[in-house]
Amino acid sequence: MKLIVSVKRVIDYNIKVRVKADNTGVDLANVKMALNPFCEIAVEEAIRLKEAGVASEVVVVSIGPTAVQEQLRTALALGADRAIHVETDELPEPLNVAKLLAKVIEAEQPGLVILGKQSIDSDNNQVGQMLAALAGRPQGTFASEVKVEGGKVLVTREVDGGLRTLSLDLPAIVTTDLRLNEPRYAKLPDIMKAKRKPLDVKTPADLGVELKQHITQLKVETPAQREAGIKVDSVDALIDKLKNEAKVI
């Protein structure tokens, strides 16, 4: 079975973002970029399925400017077999990403597609579900466990009240939650080897997709900052403040 993993290039999760002075967006100049953490988990899951003999090939896809090839190489170093870069000037919005991925899937015919549940920059949490709808396939979102057996995939999902397990017909779309696995680090020899693994570049036109704008970003602002409070020196002082000053207990 072939697996497709879709990965996004985002700001490193450790970095505190700064809004640009002209309010057009967030300052990404000279900022460390990385694989979206949920996509790292998606890559790890795919590699484990390959190591377990469930999957035969892992193909990673990323959509965006040339720079996303850096993250594709990272995924190849982690163990993916080949990469597809769909080149666009900017990172397109979720529905466009889903349409491009739907075309890649049509051509590649994977048994399972694994995505992150959410990009940590746009916080959309949309692409996997949109892709599943466009491809007319079942979805297992926010997965904390994935088991392929008997032509189906069992997905345990993190839901508001706890955990819920679904059985999905293959091909299916899965999106990862934090506790699905702990991603490995790439080893230096693998990073060298990754440079020679195949990486195809395609354009949206090659895939027959016209990108459309659905949502316009009018401005980006820094949220209201909380004023730092005070330190209290004892439990008694804390209880007194909560009772008599804040009046919350």
């Binding site: 916080d123 692409v127 579900q129 955990l163 819920r164 330190k231 804040a246």
Partner: protein, 309 residues
């Protein structure tokens, strides 16, 4: 404007998160129809009909919708959607699963977790774990929206008298089947609805030690929350995680115990009215936004707090 609001419920009662979505819908303006999709959920429809501001309730009562499977629900919603300008739902694990599917079926974008309504097509939403707020405009004829419930007051649960109409429709994809669920039962207030939340982090050290937190929670009538580190370590279940990718809470009082204050955690609680931090490290970033900080060992502080409350 004609708004279709998808009710959040468990087939027996309307989830109060729905009331926050109703407030957001009311700010957009126009006629408000609530869709209740589930199985044996007439009660929910009756409750929804009483919510102030609701003009009509559609009830799709069918086994296919019992477990909120996104494949079935999204097909239903996309079919019912004709004629509506907005399709809106409280951001929950069910709507996050379903609504993007609806948007794709309708060939429109989705606005996730809005926190303010500027006009019928302009909204604010947090990005980068709440470290930036984007003002966004939808270009689509139909706007698919999820609402961050902590940002909107709840509409009155009583006062309306909408009629209930039945939608006779069964959309079962057959490709996704419910196997089982482990829902966490608790007598405590629900995390996102509680007025006091006390959360524990890695500093608690073990699942057993969460009892210290529970004792204080009992005194305060508080809900229990946790950081990702505490959930990952298996101290508590996943549904208690507060943060960018967990629950978003904004109680009157939030008490963070043994939590350092990573941006991903702050994203889920920084709109709380009063924040208390208890941490032995006086440099912990959580102190930068706490109204009241107590530097100390939680194993001493929590029992003392319990005794004195």
């Amino acid at each position: 404007m004609n708004i279709l609001l998808i009710a959040e419920h468990d087939n027996s009662a309307l989830n109060p998160a729905t009331l926050s979505a109703v407030s957001a819908a009311t700010q957009i303006g126009g006629e408000l129809t609530v869709l209740v999709a589930g199985a044996d959920c007439q009660n929910v429809a009756d409750e929804a009909a009483k919510v102030s501001g609701v003009s009509k309730v559609l009830l799709a009562d069918n086994a296919a919708y019992a477990k909120g499977l996104a494949e079935n629900l999204s097909a239903l919603i996309a079919e019912v959607a004709t004629g509506y300008s907005h399709i809106i739902a409280a951001a929950s694990s069910t709507s996050k699963d379903t609504m993007p599917r609806v948007a794709a079926l309708l060939d429109v974008g989705q606005l996730s977790e809005i926190i303010a309504v500027e006009s019928a097509d302009i909204f604010k939403r947090p990005i980068y774990a709440g470290n930036a707020i984007a003002t966004v405009q939808s270009q689509d004829a139909v706007k698919v929206i999820t609402v961050r419930t902590s940002a909107f007051d709840k509409a009155a649960a009583e006062g309306g008298c909408a009629g209930v109409e039945t939608v006779a429709n069964s959309r079962d994809s057959g490709t996704s089947n419910f196997v089982n669920e482990e829902l966490v039962k608790s007598d405590r207030p629900e995390l996102t609805a509680a007025s006091v939340v006390i959360s524990g982090g890695r500093g608690l050290g073990s699942a057993e030690n969460f009892a210290l937190l529970e004792n204080v929670a009992d005194k305060l009538g508080a809900a229990i929350g946790a950081s990702r580190a505490a959930v990952d370590a298996g101290f508590v279940s996943n549904d208690l995680q507060v943060g960018q990718t967990g629950k978003i809470v904004a109680p009157e009082l939030y008490i963070a115990v043994g939590i350092s204050g990573a941006i991903q955690h702050l994203a889920g609680m920084k709109e709380s009215k009063v924040i208390v931090a208890i941490n032995k490290d006086e440099e912990a970033p959580i102190f930068q936004l706490a109204d009241y900080g107590l530097v100390g060992d939680l194993f001493k502080v929590l029992p003392e707090l319990e005794a004195k409350l």
